[in-house]
């Protein structure tokens, strides 16, 4: 047990820090529209040219091949440099790419991996459906084999960046004879194919915040060669895809939240408390919540370190759900506290992704990436060994 960085790791940190400070975009990231897509891809291209794209991807697939410790350092420095989040590039880098590396064919890898890395393509996820959310295996978007094509009919929902995506990781039902987990296939879907219709969904945040969409498939013909891994065996692949997401991918978010606690402490010292006596930070309730969140964010960091120590590789297994659950609930409390410190100003929607914008977005923290309820099922059944029961 130890927590000291080697000289080599410290050199790596210095290199990362210098590069990020010199190259990170200085302007504000647009939060919607074509400008957002262009911004995210340009930043990805910059990282590619600097040799940092695909930090966790193996070198043989064009990635940086960083060790877990180096990934940790990268994400820590990334957050400290206030570099913009991966945004539209997230699914390609953290889901589709690692899935293709693990399960894709030579042709699939050769075509897609370089395009994800150098910022040419945006990916989106096609997992959830109107009738299949937490019960993902109940999905019913159907794909029928017709010659060397699949003909897809159905609908996917909550698809982030669907309007901007070039490709989609699409889960379809290719057999409905057996268990619902069997007969699912993981398919690469070109979003420009005829028969695909994307209907943006406005979120609760703002009328123009079309973060996600519903996607309709009307007899969409996808080449069978786009199936990733074995036909009808997409469920296991989908689970490994979700596992990547629960690995090191959230370290930057965690650090940003730690920084937010510090910003809120400063803010609470500047603002007068509700009765005009003293500052917000001296208010017993606000002060106690700030202190608790400081402690909880320290715990999130320690949990991430423990997960990395235990895993030894990128995929943390069901224990990853412990960090996801603790972090998403704590970050939601943190955002709620920011709203309380804002006082009456919480009523004003900031146009620049300020505190109220982020507060409203935080309601998604315990839904996206597997709801907190699903995380609790995973923890209780797969870690604690409690019996599976009716849902």
């Amino acid at each position: 047990m130890h927590i000291e960085f080697t000289a080599q790791e410290q050199d790596f940190r210095a290199e990362v820090r210098d590069w990020l400070l010199a190259h990170r975009p200085k302007e504000q990231r647009p939060y919607s529209g074509q400008a957002m897509r262009e911004f995210d891809l340009a930043w990805q291209r910059t990282q590619f040219e600097g040799g940092w794209a695909g930090i966790s991807w193996p070198r043989e697939f064009g990635g940086r091949g960083a060790s877990l410790m180096e990934q940790l350092i990268w994400h820590e420095e990334y957050a400290r440099a206030r570099a913009p989040r991966a945004g539209a590039c997230f699914v390609g880098l953290s889901h589709a790419g690692p899935t293709l590396i693990a399960h894709g064919s030579q042709e699939q890898r050769a075509f897609h991996l370089p395009r994800i890395l150098d910022g040419r393509t945006v990916w989106c996820q096609g997992f959830s459906e109107p009738g299949a959310g937490s019960d993902l295996a109940a999905l019913s978007t159907r794909a029928i084999v017709d010659g060397d094509h699949l003909v897809v009919t159905g609908s996917k929902i909550w698809t982030s960046y669907a309007s901007h995506a070039d490709f989609q990781e699409l889960l379809v039902r290719t057999d409905s004879g057996g268990r619902k987990q069997d007969g699912i296939s993981w398919v690469i879907c070109d979003m420009k194919l005829p028969g695909i219709e994307v209907r943006p969904i406005a979120t609760m945040i703002a009328p123009d915040d079309h973060h996600f969409a519903q996607v309709f498939y009307n007899d969409v013909r996808i080449p069978i060669s786009n199936v990733v891994g074995e036909f009808n065996h997409g469920w296991a692949i989908a689970n490994s895809t979700l596992g990547f997401e629960r690995g090191t991918g959230f370290i930057a978010d965690q650090i940003q939240n730690s920084e937010l606690v510090e910003q809120l402490i400063v803010l609470a010292r500047e603002r007068r408390s509700g009765d005009g006596q003293g500052c917000m930070a001296d208010d017993g309730d606000i002060g106690s919540r700030l202190a608790m969140l400081r402690a909880e964010m320290a715990a999130v960091r320690a949990m991430t370190y423990a997960t990395i120590s235990r895993a030894g590789h990128g995929n943390p297994g069901p224990e990853g759900s412990l960090v996801k659950l603790f972090f998403s609930e704590a970050s939601q409390r943190l955002r709620r506290l920011s709203a309380d410190i804002l006082g009456a100003e919480v009523l004003e929607l900031s146009a620049d992704e300020g505190l109220t914008f982020a507060y409203l977005r935080s309601f998604a923290a315990t839904i996206g990436g597997g709801t907190s309820d699903v995380q609790r099922n995973i923890i209780s059944e797969r870690v604690l060994g409690l019996p599976r029961g009716a849902r």
């Binding site: 510090e262 700030l290 909880e296 423990a306 224990e319 659950l325 609790r376 029961g389």
Partner: protein, 349 residues
Amino acid sequence: MIDLQPSSEQVQIIDSVAGFLADRLPVERLVATQDANAEAEANQDYTALSEIGELGVLGLGLSEEQGGVGYSLVEEVLVAREFGRFLVSPGIIATMLAVHLVARPNEQAVAAEFAQSLQTGSIAVAPAVAVTSDGNLTGSEFYILDGAPADWVLVVAESSACLVPRADWKERRAIVAIDPSVTLERAQLGNLNGSHHCSDASLVRRARLLASAYLVGIAEAAQESSVAYVKIREQFGQPIGAFQSVKHRCADMLTRSSAAWSLTLFAALSEESRSSDAGFQVMAAKIIASDAASRNAAVNIQNHGGIGFTREHHAHLFVKRAHMFDLIAGSSALLKKRLLSADSPLRVT
């Protein structure tokens, strides 16, 4: 390199202590019989003190030059967590701390022999917590925790600690405790003439860490007790652990204890490597560990239903011990105030 996994040597230490405790001091020892008089005698921990001393755990983190075993604070934290799981007398933690207090360089004259007696378990130490926290030592009233057979009493204040001999306490009287498995006394600290005093903040941090580890042990034992019970208790024709409302409570218990243990280890390693944010991490760990212990202990009673509310089940002892260790070396209420005004660890790289 960051590694929070115990080494094989550390696993051996954990296993040997856990094995001893399971055999010699199982938690069932504390379950009250119908005979209230038997309760006071139920606490066998002090009689086991010399056996625990023989295991070598009382001077585990003291250097060999100072007559200790030569491991570090981290190993003491691993052991304190096991003591928490088995609800061993708080005197054990006080004794572990007293070893370090008397082995300070300025205590050389008495240090060697005294520290040795503490390590072998031939001298018993009990912790005390202030009745009201006005920051004064002499003249103030304290609760002495499970200290009936103890020769010395350890007081850990915010920035110092002192080990006070039995004779220096005035108006010492027995009080009925909420926790029937320990004795409780109220007494006034008369003077510090016979005391060993230490104003080294690292001893306070050590006390907070051992208390955190003990609290994590409580949180984990409560969680394990619940999980074992909900797997076998059947209602509506199935184990209650199959119901989402119950299993989700268990998942939350594990999440809390896991967060508390990760942070306690990280804080101990920060202290061990003399990191400038160690004080911050240690306070955060104690707050999170106390929260995990008290909430898991409460949920454990809920999961057990009626039996969990009875005296004959040990579930209530987790609640009561969690209160006790929250108060040792700084309550959460106090530490939250201190943590809020502490420097941010983010400014440190």
